[in-house]
Point group: C2
């Protein structure tokens, strides 16, 4: 039920795995598009025949659609893919409906894109998929939802709903709000000043471009956990202002921030500091990137990650190539020999 990016991707993955999938969407055209892209069929069965219902509708509609599905499909396990779990569970409990056949879940995938055209059966491959059973979930229903995540190729994590909401509040919703806070402040900055903006400001404010109508629902559903976090940040910001003229205290604040970045797991779960970076200038010429990557390949070095830096008004970008530390010298030499401007 719901064939946007996430719903249609789940359906494509299940169809590919040989499961019979029936699509529904309040926007019928979305279901048609999803069906045309291999997500399933538009036909329907006897309601008693469904084994699993995946609810992939906007956050504000989750509880009502889940309750309706539990009522309509008497033998089906019902799950959802919402990004906040606690409020939905509380809303469901308030309806008095039997929740044994409900088990929440949250596949940590998606993007700023939306709609069935953006779906992919591989969207969840190696992504984290959080399962949030509650105290009255039937063991069989939890198993069905686990099997769903496994068939989509995801990495399973099990957490209580409240625990999940606290975690995504910290790593996703708080950054969203703080990015919006900084970005909103830019409206008071003269355009002449904004001309001096570099990559750092762009990085900090990038996610603030997300859809306010989607995010209002996520924030509303998790406001309890977020309030605690925001009050701590508010207090920390107040403390920073109080010590702004004490360089030692400011340095301690900055050093704490740096340690925080080091606490984040890197790609493939490795420590962020595990790779060495070789920085190569990218000329603003046709074919430059293709030649650059061809030469990197020719150097025989395995690329772990790449980053790009741009600045307005500057035609030359910088490509940061992250490699095993032992390989950085090899790469830098090979690229310099081929005429690239390299900084290690």
């Amino acid at each position: 039920m719901g064939t946007g990016l996430v719903g249609a991707s789940v359906a494509q993955a299940m169809t590919r795995a040989g499961v019979e999938v029936h699509l529904q969407d309040a926007r019928y055209s979305h279901a048609v598009v999803a069906a045309s892209r291999g997500a399933g069929t538009l036909t329907s069965l006897d309601p008693a025949a469904y084994q699993l219902v995946v609810v992939a509708v906007p956050p504000g509609a989750l509880a009502a659609v889940i309750a309706e599905a539990l009522d309509t499909y008497p033998n089906a396990t019902v799950t959802d893919v919402g990004s906040v779990k606690g409020v939905v569970l509380a809303q469901l409990r308030a309806t008095g409906v039997d929740l044994a056949r409900y088990c929440g879940s949250h596949p940590m995938a998606g993007s700023q894109k939306d709609g069935p055209l953006t779906a992919s059966p591989d969207l969840f491959v190696d992504r984290t998929w959080v399962i949030t059973p509650h105290d009255t979930s039937a063991a069989q229903s939890v198993l069905v939802v686990r099997r769903l995540a496994e068939m989509c190729g995801a990495r399973l994590v099990t957490m209580a709903a409240q625990h999940h909401d606290e975690a995504v509040g910290q790593v996703s919703h708080i950054p969203q709000l703080m990015s919006a806070l900084v970005a909103g402040g830019l409206l008071d900055v003269p355009a002449e000043h904004l001309q001096l903006a570099g990559q750092g400001l762009r990085d900090v404010t990038r996610i603030a471009a997300g859809d306010p109508k989607l995010w209002r629902q996520i924030i509303a559903a998790n406001s309890g956990a977020l309030r605690v976090e925001l009050e701590e940040l508010h207090e920390d910001l107040g403390k920073l202002i109080a010590v702004l003229d004490d360089p030692d205290a400011v340095e301690a604040f900055l050093a704490r921030g740096r340690r925080g970045t080091q606490a984040l797991p890197g790609k493939h779960g490795s420590a962020p500091s595990a790779w060495a970076e070789v920085v190569i200038e990218i000329p603003d010429a046709p074919g430059a990137l293709a030649r650059l990557f061809t030469d990197i390949e020719t150097a025989g070095v395995n690329v772990e990650d790449i980053t790009i830096e741009h600045d307005p008004g500057r035609p030359v970008g910088m490509l940061g190539v992250h490699v095993e530390p032992a390989a950085s010298g090899v790469l830098a030499t090979a690229m310099t020999d081929r005429g690239w401007t390299v900084r290690t």
Copy 2:
């Protein structure tokens, strides 16, 4: 004076332009390395023979070194490349030295890298270089500094020191502090929760990895302008907390943030929304990026920008290719035909 990344790059650019450059650095080995890389010579002239002294030392040492240079080189214009201008000017005024031959400047380039090995004579090409004359700067000195920036290939902007500090506070120092605020909060987040972190949190906290010892000097030198901005953000954050349970007010806050991102000038000064994005999956296989860019080139489409998204534990990355809107369909079709998984 000072042959780190910025000082050595200025020296390389001036040497290349045919100017005789003499290098000094408190760390003599840095001057030797810079000289070996075409930045100038280690010899010295009669102090009266110097026409221009460029002071490129750490922020905390600027005023003392500038004052000493004005005293030592009686005929030279003296400038600096510090990222904060007002405090240095005030410190210089407090010494009572005649400042007619001093004109501050701030080339907006550099990176997280440092040292003369990272220098490039092209570091400032098409970058913004802010000149900050003061009310007693001699016209001739301002002209000499303008000529310096022009010979380095930079785009000139002239601002009063206080105005400059307010601008870089807003677009550079405030994002740095807010990124550190969010990153510092991560130290209180359980490692299990951090496993759920995605690209958004990484973007918001990336610059918080910067050197606390450098940034303490920048913050200390601009604390006046920063205090005003931080107090506004502190107040805005308090207001957000107060309305956190009012979805309309939260949406207005988020919408304000989105408008802020739209106020930022894009690459080459164009509006950020001018390009269409074609998103292509990058398999984690040897040669994948080289093949991908070769196929993009073959499609005959001009790439304006690229972005990469990664998630921990997921071997497949997404490449966002930004092109003219009219070209996005051509690119998507061409890449799909060549077997790539494309989302438009």
